[in-house]
Each structure stands twice: as C-alpha cells, then as structure tokens.
C-alpha cells in the first residue's frame, strides 16, 4: 500500500482516538483513507476534516489536553500554518503526533518531494525554546512503525512527536506488515496514564490546568528548565539511527528518509567503481545522532550530506565532526529527486577529485 494509506491504517490499529486534518497534496490520502475505512464505526476513532490547518492543530491541542491519542497530518505549507499550535502543545507538555509529508518550497512551492522542512522540524518551527521528537521514515513499513513509536514516545515524555516524511515515501507503494488492532484506551486507563488530563473533575481530584501561559517570569524560567531537562533525557535515551557498511569505508554519506535509500543504491554503484562508501541514516532527526555521526566519520576521507534541500542537516553533521574532515553537501531543490548516479557523481566531484 501507499505510505499515506499506511499511516491511516497504522493510526486506527494503534488505537488512536482522533485525527484532525485538512487536505493538501502529497498527503491527502491519509484523510481519504481514514474516511474510507470509517473507524468511527469500529474502534470509535474520530476522523474530522477541519475548516483549516489552524483549526485542525487546535483540535489536536484540545484532544491531547484530555489525554487522548490524537494526530494531524499535512504538507509543508499546511505545517507552517500549524506552527503556533505546535509551540503551544509543546509548551503545555502534551503528547500528540504530527505528520509532515514534505513538498518543495518555499511558499506554496510545488507538490513534488522535498526535505526542506528539516530546520523547521528540528530547530523549533514555532516560537520559543522547544523541540519535537522528529522521526524520519525511509520505507512504507517505517511509516507504519513510526505511528506507534511516535505515539509511544509522545506519551512517555509528554511531548509532541513529528513524523517528517517526504512525498516519495508518502506516494510510493511497498509491502507492509500492519500491527494487530489494539483497543482504544478506556476512560479509566486514560486517567491512570495521564493524571494531568483535563478530562472532567471527578472523585474530588484537584483541578487540572493546562496552559502555555505563565505571566510570572520566574515561574516561566522554571517551566523552561523542566522542558530542557526533558530534552536532555530524550537526547540521551531516544537517539536512533541506522549504519550501512560504515566500517572499512573511505567515504561517508549522511542522508535521511527515502533519500537514504537512493544513497544505498549509489553506494552499490560506487562500489562497482571501487569507491567504498558507508552510510549513516539518522532515524531521529531530533535528537540528532551526533555521537554516531562523529564515530562513523572517524578515519574517513570525507562526508557527503545528501538532502532534498540547499543544505540543512549538514549543519548538524558539521557540528558533529568539528571540521575534522571535509563535509560537503549535495541536494536537488524544488521537488526534483536526484538519481543514484547523480549522487555518485557528486561524491566524485565534491570529495574524491579534490
């Protein structure tokens, strides 16, 4: 099935309580598939096409505040509209899942694949000092798996998670194994898992207040420090990446999402020419696998960052390796997908022939 369809199936099977979205290419199949599957008749999951992206993200804010497992999805321009709500959800320490199937920008841009929202996703696209947990799927199977992982991490840390996909993995079809259907949590289970939830005061419990507003600066500083402590814990425990033939390689490619697969093919083509290439594929873009990239780059002749943007992740790669070796960028822009051959050419031109 298609990556976008897989997201819809995975959400229902996870026991998701609600999806709030607004159509935009290349991810409209998420909403369409949910409408087709009609989970409100089976699991009771709410599926709602909101009047706008802003409305959708604020419905997610409300759902999350009541302890529900809720999500939204959009593509680049739509995700920009959601940024205010995302900042509020992060500030209020609420779990939620946001899918961005990136398209070429800036502005309304094209509808073809891109990875140009890396900065927005990993550096805080909205205002304030906050982070999303950002997962980058490279296969349709990972689209499925990261719905579960994203919700699990979001609830574990009370922090919004984002699946940062691109048009390729959203639109392509592959073989997938769907997880077993999980029942949605009961009201009682939600109360136990989320004692902070604004789910109606019962049995004399104290009032739960969920807000991102704190007018007293000293209190706001404490809240910020709490957030930062959480981010350090997430960095320590949740950094994920994949390494492909890093040992014994002369050059390292760092690439995420579907582009990492194009680079895997490029690695095979390079091997035919006698060029040994290893790949590090960050799976969590935040937290970035800084230590893994540093270790993988040790003893290599150079690093090529391949991204569908003008050079965004390369900043994190450069920070990881501290100028200890040449780091170059290769990317196509505006929705163009590079072929494996182009990646090999870039490697030869930018690193090997120098």
């Amino acid at each position: 099935m298609k990556g976008n369809e897989a997201i819809a199936h995975a959400a229902i099977r996870y026991g998701c309580d609600g999806y709030f979205g607004y159509p935009i290419t290349p991810q409209s199949e998420v909403l369409e598939t949910l409408e087709e599957l009609m989970p409100w008749e089976t699991t009771g999951m709410v599926v709602l096409q909101a009047e706008s992206e802003v409305a959708a993200i604020n419905m997610v804010y409300g759902g999350a505040a009541s302890g529900k497992a809720v999500m939204t999805s959009s593509s680049s321009p739509g995700v920009s509209l959601k940024q205010e709500g995302i900042s509020y959800i992060a500030a209020a320490s609420l779990p939620a899942l946001i899918l961005n199937v990136m398209r070429g920008g800036p502005g309304l841009g094209t509808i073809q694949p891109s990875q140009a929202d890396y900065f927005q996703a990993t550096k805080g696209g909205g205002h304030g000092d906050y982070h999303l947990i950002v997962l980058a799927p490279s296969t349709v199977q990972e689209m499925v798996d990261f719905v579960g992982l994203g919700f699990d991490l979001a609830f574990k840390y009370c922090n919004p998670a984002m699946i940062l996909a691109d048009g390729i993995v959203g639109q392509m079809m592959e073989k997938v194994v769907l997880p077993e259907q999980r029942p949605r949590r009961t009201e009682e289970q939600i109360r136990q898992q989320c004692p902070w939830a604004a789910d109606g005061r019962k049995n004399g419990r104290k009032r739960n207040v969920i807000t991102s507003l704190e007018l007293e600066s000293a209190r706001m500083e404490v809240i910020n420090h709490q957030l930062q402590d959480r981010y350090r814990r997430i960095e320590r425990d949740e950094t994920r990446w994949e390494e492909i033939d890093v040992e014994g390689a002369d050059y390292l490619i760092v690439a995420f999402g579907s582009i990492a697969r194009i680079c895997t093919k490029a690695k095979e083509l390079a091997a035919e020419k006698g060029i040994k290439v290893g790949i590090v594929r960050p799976i969590t873009l935040w937290p970035f696998p800084t230590e893994a990239v540093r270790r993988a780059a040790e003893g290599k002749k150079g690093v090529l960052c391949v991204e569908l943007n003008a050079g965004q992740m390369i900043e994190d790669v450069r920070l990881a390796v501290h100028d200890s070796l040449p780091v170059e960028h290769f990317g196509r822009l505006g929705g163009i997908i590079p072929s494996p051959e182009e990646v090999v050419e870039a490697l030869e031109q930018k690193l090997i022939s120098k």
Binding site: I168, M172, S258, I262, K265, A266
Partner: protein
C-alpha cells in the same frame, strides 16, 4: 532476480494502474516490490510514469535513472526513457503516433501496436492490460499467470472484479502481439 521497470505514457492511458497491478502481482509471487509514481497535475493530461521494482531482495532506491525494461506509450516518453535502458535491456513501445523510432542496437526493442490489439478486443479500457501482456511475455522474470490474476483481484475494487476475465483476455492478446 531483480527487474527495474518504468512505464511511461499519457495520463489516462492506465500507466499507474498497470504499474499497480504489476506490483501486486509481484507481491503475490512473494517478491519485494516498490511502486513509485510521478504524481500530481501530470496525472490529468500531460505525461505520467511509474517505476516498479520487483526483486528477491530488499529494494534500496525506489527512484532510478537506468532501467532493465522501459515501456514507452508516447513519443515524449520514448525520447526521454529509451536512452535510459541498460545495455542488454528491453524497450517496448507503442508505435501509434511515433515519428522518431529508437535506434539503439545494444538493447532488445519491441515495437507493438497495442491500440489496434485493444480495438480487436473491443474495449479501449483494456489497453493497459494488453501492454501488460506484452511486458509479461518479454520480461526475463516469468511471473506466473495465477499470481497476476491474484494481483488483479488485489488492485481492483470488488465492484470491478467482473472485468477480470476481460483483463485476462487482454493480457493474452498482449502476449500474442509480442510473440508476432
């Protein structure tokens, strides 16, 4: 076994759905598969193409620049993709509306008149399955017909299952057309 295939033509010729049926057929034959379309406005007019990879092993890149098999259903697609057939590979193209024929001698070229074969069946919607038949006949990897039927069932909505015999007939027609 690994077949890297691109099917390219006009939007509306059934390019994407042919790719989908091919991918599902491979899936039913227990292969790893990817189906990567060109999507968006070109689906409604203009050119449409889809890359399908069938393999025994895990597939790396779903996007390619060189193909084992190219199927080109208009001049534009032929011009664009004929140079991208790997040496020793296969090019199948529909001769309708083709002015500039491909000249490569390092690949196997099958010019076919799929439109005429389709008209003989009497249902223009079967066009893409005639082409599919030609592909199945030409492809070194022999996909068992029973798995193609399963693939058809899997990719067509149930209300269209009554059309499976017609599709089967079209595939057979396509095979014959290629053998000629």
């Amino acid at each position: 076994m690994k077949e890297e295939i691109i099917i390219a033509g006009f939007g509306g010729q059934g390019v994407l759905s042919m790719g989908k049926i091919l991918a599902y057929s491979g899936l039913m034959d227990d292969k790893e598969v990817t189906w990567m379309p060109s999507y968006g406005p070109e689906q409604r007019g203009g050119t449409a193409n889809v890359t399908v990879i069938l393999s025994d092993e895990k597939i790396s890149s779903p996007v390619l620049d060189r193909y084992d098999i190219v199927i080109a259903l208009n001049q534009q697609s032929l011009d664009k993709f004929a140079p991208k057939v790997k040496p020793g590979g296969i090019l199948i193209y529909d001769t309708n509306g083709i002015h500039n024929r491909p000249t490569r001698d390092d690949i196997t070229i099958y010019p076919v008149d799929a439109m005429e074969a389709t008209l003989e069946i009497g249902n223009s919607k079967a066009y893409n399955m005639v082409v599919m038949g030609a592909l199945l006949e030409a492809m070194p990897y022999k996909l068992p017909m029973e798995n193609v039927i399963k693939g058809l069932k899997k990719s067509l909505p149930e209300r269209h299952h009554k059309l499976i015999p017609l599709n089967e007939q079209a595939i057979e027609k396509g095979r014959e057309m290629l053998r000629k």
